[in-house]
């Protein structure tokens, strides 16, 4: 494997905390994941994780669509993509969130609770920080998988 050390590339954009922003946020992050040369399914999953996190910020941190914002930054270094989301909404304790019911019996299923679960399934690191001066900070890292050979 040839090792190429690249300068980190970073970018930041701020979006209104509204559901209509999700498509633009997803495009912004998907472009970053493509730049990090992730495969199609990984790009999709990173987009999904960020969409879930932003939907939660709007729905739960801000308590619905309103006047807040979501600041989205990413950094690509080597083969790692870091996405950071910042908001000024209510903090919460992720530890208290129960695991979703993944039963194969449809009538036992509750439709909700899948967002946080999928974020953790998809991303290699997920860290919430509610102490920051900058508001709530969610940092998610995705590393490129190399196929075994």
């Amino acid at each position: 494997m040839s090792l190429v050390v690249l300068m980190p590339r970073t970018q930041t954009r701020t979006f209104p905390a509204r559901y209509e922003s999700l498509a633009a946020i997803d495009r912004f992050v998907a472009a970053a994941a493509e730049e990090a040369s992730f495969d199609e399914c990984t790009v999709y999953q990173v987009e999904l994780a960020v969409d879930e996190a932003c939907s939660n910020i709007i729905e739960h941190a801000y308590g619905g669509e309103g006047s807040g914002t979501i600041e989205c930054s990413y950094r690509i270094q080597d083969e790692e993509l870091t996405v950071i989301l910042r908001d000024q909404g209510q903090p919460f304790d992720p530890e208290t969130v129960p695991e979703p019911n993944l039963s194969a019996n449809i009538q036992e299923r509750t439709g909700g609770g899948l967002g946080l679960y999928m974020i953790r399934q998809i991303m290699d690191e997920v860290n919430f920080d509610f102490e920051s001066e900058a508001g709530n900070v969610l940092t998610m890292v995705k590393r490129k998988k190399h196929s075994m050979r």
Binding site: L22, E40, Y44, E59, Q107, G112, M118
Partner: protein, 111 residues
């Protein structure tokens, strides 16, 4: 998101294109509820042109499937699901909840 529907003798096909996210999922829910409200519980979701579906969309599908399968009166099946969406469905334990068909015609042909 755009939604086109076709009604057949024994099922309806709902063809969605674009994104199913928190912004658009309510629209899809409305169309699906229209069918279940009037007693059509055999539904095919044609996903060939869906670019993206978040848990907001998954919730709509689960809720609709619950309604359809109650009393064994029908089911919602998924057709022509793009590969990245398939993998994401897997994460959410969706494979056990829905019948998947490669082509819409196969899905229609099971009703």
């Amino acid at each position: 998101m755009e939604i086109a529907t076709r009604e057949f003798k024994r099922c309806a096909v709902i063809e969605v294109s674009g994104r199913i996210d928190s912004a658009t999922a309510p629209q899809l829910a409305a169309v699906l509820h229209d069918y279940t409200d009037k007693g059509q519980y055999n539904l095919v979701l044609d996903m060939s042109d869906v670019d993206f579906i978040s848990s907001a969309g998954l919730r709509v599908l689960i809720d609709t499937q619950k309604t359809c399968e109650r009393l064994n009166r029908g089911r919602l099946v998924l057709a022509d699901v793009p590969e990245p969406i398939c993998e994401a469905f897997d994460l959410a334990g969706f494979v056990a909840l829905f019948d998947f068909y490669d082509e819409v015609v196969e899905a229609v042909g099971t009703f």
